[in-house]
Subunit: 369 residues, 2 copies
């Protein structure tokens, strides 16, 4: 079983701030980028956290594929809509500022949307949707990403895992936060099975001929992920359709890249990722306290509904992640030993040594995505 080292959350964030600052990112932006990456690790979405610090962000900054100044530019604006050019900036910084403006615009006219072109990988989609919550707004965040998913009846990866995130405030209960890839699983999940020498469940992916396979290597080498739903019989064309919607709203509508033209992380060209954000002011529709009381009620009705035989809990979206965040803030954020090793190596190379003392060590719990 792989092991993890536990680190204090603030220490990890400080390290990332120092790293980004060292790479030339302005201080305020370094804090934003570090906070988004830390949020992923805290919420248990390690694939989108500090693991990418050197491999994705560091590499692309050094190659000049990410502009550390994240120069945002307004291209078109109406009272309820805004198109921004992300200036090849840090995805997190671009997305954070775009969502900020979206919230400001929603405050004025009730709801608003922002699309962004010319950006980079922005981390977890849910972060930006959740920015709406303290403002008593519903937040939506979509982004396209490099091609990994085949359309139904196809065999080539033509679409990204294009996530959909929606956050809605509740009262006594925690907010509802859906943050999902439109594929069944992310590519990292296939890699985990491959490294463990295990077959993948039937339906997650296809080989290069387009047939469903249980061999993770066949998916990774010339195959593709299947969209949510899986095969046509299980209505995988719905997941494929949702992925198209994300690509249309974030890629086509912004003038960013789409489909196979979104660059792979390792490619030496700008990614030109597109994002879409929306914010809805709850009190534009209903008194906030009534809305929140009904959210609480809906959440409790679902949670307390009868369980399937052998199950004892129904989860509301976001619950597991909030529980992870509370636990990791207390016990320390778990990082796989191999991730820590690569952080130490990467830190040496760029001159920002990763010299944090772990709080402890334990076996990894590999049920999170």
């Amino acid at each position: 079983m792989p092991r993890v080292l536990l680190f204090q959350a603030n220490a990890l964030k400080d390290y990332m701030v120092r790293f980004f600052t060292h790479m030339g990112v302005p201080a305020e932006d370094a804090h934003i980028a570090a906070d988004v990456l830390l949020a992923a690790d805290l919420r248990g979405v390690a694939s989108h956290g500090i693991i990418r610090l050197h491999t994705y962000y560091g590499n692309r900054i050094r190659k000049g594929l990410i502009d550390v100044h994240s120069p945002l530019q307004v291209i078109r604006e109406t009272p309820a809509t805004l198109l921004l050019d992300g200036g090849r900036g840090l995805g997190q910084v671009v997305a954070y500022r775009a969502m900020q403006r979206c919230i400001e615009k929603a405050r004025e006219v009730g709801m608003a949307m922002v699309t962004v072109r010319n950006s980079n990988h922005y981390g977890i989609a849910g972060y930006y949707a959740m920015m709406a919550l303290p403002h008593d707004m519903i937040g939506i965040s979509l982004t396209n990403s490099q091609p990994l998913v085949a359309p139904t009846y196809g065999r080539k990866a033509m679409l990204g895992t294009n996530p959909i995130a929606v956050a809605a405030p509740a009262g006594q209960e925690r907010p509802f936060v859906l943050d999902m890839a439109t594929s069944i699983v992310p590519i990292g999940k296939i890699t985990v099975y491959d490294k463990a020498g295990l077959p993948i469940p039937e339906g997650w992916g296809i080989d290069s001929s387009g047939k469903v396979t249980t061999d993770p290597k066949a998916v990774l080498k010339g195959g593709a992920l299947l969209p949510l739903g899986g095969t046509a019989l299980m209505r995988g064309y719905k997941g494929y359709g949702l992925s198209m919607v994300v690509d249309i709203l974030s890629g086509v509508l912004s003038g960013a890249a789409y489909s196979i033209e979104v660059a792979q992380p390792g490619e030496g060209r700008p990614a030109n990722v597109g994002h879409f954000f929306a914010a809805i002011r709850v009190d534009a529709l209903r008194p906030v306290d009534e809305f929140k009381a009904d959210m609480d009620r809906l959440i409790r009705m679902i949670r307390e509904s009868p369980k399937a035989e052998g199950e004892d809990r129904i989860f509301i979206h976001g619950e597991k992640e909030f529980e992870n965040a509370e636990r990791y803030a207390r016990e320390g954020v778990p990082l796989l030993t191999e991730v820590v090793k690569s952080l130490r190596e990467g830190g040496e190379q760029v001159g920002v040594p990763f010299n944090l003392e772990p709080l402890g060590e334990r076996e990894a719990e590999l049920d999170a995505e």
Copy 2:
């Protein structure tokens, strides 16, 4: 094999207009309701078409559960948002007028959304999303519906099949039109298997203990449909999450019923269905011709991408339905003989005899939803 009779599309619409008018629906509204129902039959979504004329709409009008005057009332309004009370009106009429206002508001401020409470079943979600297309807008249409779907790890139907429809205009190509239930299949599909004495594919539904079953009767009697994705292993909690989003945006945000409080069609109380609509003016973000050219390009890239072994076509969402509509406009709209029989009986009862001459007869093609 069941057989169908073929009817001229306009003749069916005329009949429905006469029926609604006879029931006291104002002439203009009767045309709207008939057009939405006909669109379902034309597009190959017979479950949402004329089959419900007497059984759902007629019955509920007679019982006073649908107010034939569909008295819409504005509850709250901002430049980009609107909350309407549907006054227990005909779902089609309420939804049509709500989407009309949504489009008008989007014209003013770039994009807009409308939520509706106190409505009824509105037919196919895609109809209202598609209303945005002639205005060079992207349209979105969501609605909650009576409980049929169990949350992941649950065994009771707590959520509707809550559909998501998104329509985006293209140039040379047909528009992209996603119109999907957030369950794997609609309940009508289970009924079809039950009537045919066939087992359902594993994963579509659960029995009353919450176990996946291939027995359609077990799903229909105390069981439930599974959300898109299916089991937890196949990430059914994503489909469950999407269903929650639809219920939050159309039910909770409008102050309509939600979860198990949305009435079943046969229940003797108002359904209090909630809807959500949005419209985005393409030219608020990009020049329309550029957007359409990119939509054409995206559609062609996907369609022309390599096919899985044994497959020769990748479908874009909406394509099959447009082809159905063209064919049925030419050959006649197919109605199952048993549906025709019940239309004749229902027509006799209410004094609007269904005396249309069929154009022909043939075997049914039961691959549509």
